[in-house]
């Protein structure tokens, strides 16, 4: 599907994410916690990768590093052709604004903004585009089946609807890579599968790459590939 508001020039052949020997060590007092240990991962331009692993294995840490929220202790991170390993916090802020989409494990919506405004805020707080952004928000809400709920506050939406708004928010900036951290954990199986299906359709139709973190093995068939993680180590 072509989107009139994007200037998407990412070549699908170019990997959307390259992690090379990435280490993340948390300093906890005297002891070090190795959250990510020499992780190497490449995600193709339009690939959906499921990241599966037990609690505390480093899934969120990996997403945070790939999304420029966290800087790696060691290693190289390239997203959409942009190397961000040595970015300053300011550069990372701009990078997050432009290049990645997030659906977080817990808080995803601003409670005092309507569904539509939760999408628009991405544009408002970045480089304002105005009308094209409003068009894009309306189009996304429609695709996500939320047109009728556009004026509702998050508190007036069901869990599944909130998750769909979060997906719309993550797609607002036309990212090179979207990171979904357990997007279905708060939903029952049926709703979870619906959301996964939606993620799959949205990503594939736009040719956007995604990492979908999940505990749930039943969800992995929506992905092109599964990466397993245990104690910070990746097994493809």
């Amino acid at each position: 599907m072509s989107d009139p508001t994007t200037d998407d020039t990412t070549d699908p052949a170019e990997p959307s994410l390259v992690l090379e020997d990435v280490r993340k060590v948390y300093r906890m007092g005297d002891s070090d916690v190795v959250a990510l240990d020499h992780a190497t991962l490449e995600v193709a331009g339009d690939e959906i990768v499921a990241l599966v692993g037990p609690s505390g294995s480093g899934k969120t840490t990996l997403c945070s590093i790939a999304g420029g929220i966290l800087s790696p202790t060691e290693g190289r991170v390239v997203v959409g052709g942009e190397e961000i390993s040595d970015y300053s916090p300011k550069q990372l802020t701009t990078f997050r604004q432009d290049k990645v989409g997030f659906v977080f494990q817990a808080v995803n919506l601003v409670p005092f903004l309507t569904a539509r405004e939760n999408l628009l805020v991405v544009d408002e707080l970045g480089r304002r585009r105005g009308a094209p952004a409003r068009q894009r928000a309306d189009q996304l809400l429609e695709e996500l089946g939320l047109s009728a709920r556009a004026k509702n506050l998050p508190g007036q939406l069901s869990g599944g609807e909130r998750q769909r708004v979060a997906i719309g928010r993550a797609l607002m900036n036309d990212p090179a890579l979207v990171l979904f951290d357990e997007p279905t954990s708060a939903l029952d199986t049926k709703l979870g599968e619906a959301v996964m299906e939606l993620i799959q359709t949205e990503m594939k139709s736009r040719g956007i790459a995604a990492i979908v973190v999940t505990h749930d093995e039943r969800m992995v068939h929506y992905a092109d590939r599964v990466a397993h993680i245990l104690d910070g180590r990746l097994r493809a």
Partner: protein
Amino acid sequence: MFLALREMRRTKARFGLVVAAVALLVFLIFIQLTLQNGLLTAFVGAIRNQSAPVLVYSVDGRRNLQGSVITPPLEAAITAVPEVGRAGRIGEGTFTATVDGDLADVALVGYEAEGLGSPTALTAGRFPERDGEVVANEADADLGLGLGDTVALEPGGLELTVVGQAEDINLQVTPTLFTTYDTYVAAVRSVNPDARDPLPNAIALTPAEGVTPDQLSAAVNAADPEADALPRAAAADETPGVAQVRQSFQVIFLLYALVVPLVTGLFFLIITFQKANALTLLRAVGAPARRLVAALLVQVVIVMAAGIALGTALYAPLSVQRVGSIPLRFETRAVVVWTVVLMLLGVLSSLFSARRVLRIDPVEATTGAGVQV
């Protein structure tokens, strides 16, 4: 703006409450400022708004017109000072008078010449030309001291007719009449025919050419240890009681200057904590911290401006009333000054919240420690 205004629109009640709180405080500040100024004007307006640049009391008088007595030798010493331009006597006394059929206290101020203790400016009528003519305080017109009204001093029944009006010329919160020195002497005699001519209470001076009021005061004070010369504004400010009134009000204003930023500062700190999750989320999806701080400041300015506007709107109708015999007035200058001060205090008070916003680490959005929205 987007974020700031949307939030205010969605949480009208809480922002409404803080605006109401600011408005109430602003209202109280303005009313008390007006009361203070009204009180001081009723107290020493006659001194502020008389025409002599320098007043000389006797030291024993403790800068109180009624308590000061100028003896002939002192008067001679004062008028002999070379820096003196012109000099004139001022006499002051409180009398009982029949005003509009009732007995009331009035103060009478007698001056020898215009420019030497007469009211600085008239708002209506003319200066006294004949015996028995007086200028009254404009605001006392409805007490029976309007243009053309006549009052009789008791006992004796000496009649005084109001021929002119001036603004803010009362003394000691008593309706005050300015008149010629001769009429003043006649008044003292009319109530007490056995009395000798009264001694003047003060000497009004203008400086000689090239001399400032300050220099003249210093020269007079140096000439005679009994003389206590003060430039006009100082004479008003140093009247016993004025400083005490000012001080008491200053304590009150200082308290307000602490309470207002405390209220706004705490309010914004609380809402910043309450929406920490949303702010963290916005940082995580690429909102620069300064944009979030800007949204905070926009809200602060809106809250302060709305509070001040509402407070002023409440204050405006009350500011033109009277409290007892003290007429109040809309204090434009005070409103402007306090608006600026409160704006600054409001913004300063929100700096704690701003610091909190700047310290948000976007990584907190990923941990899921927050409340599910």
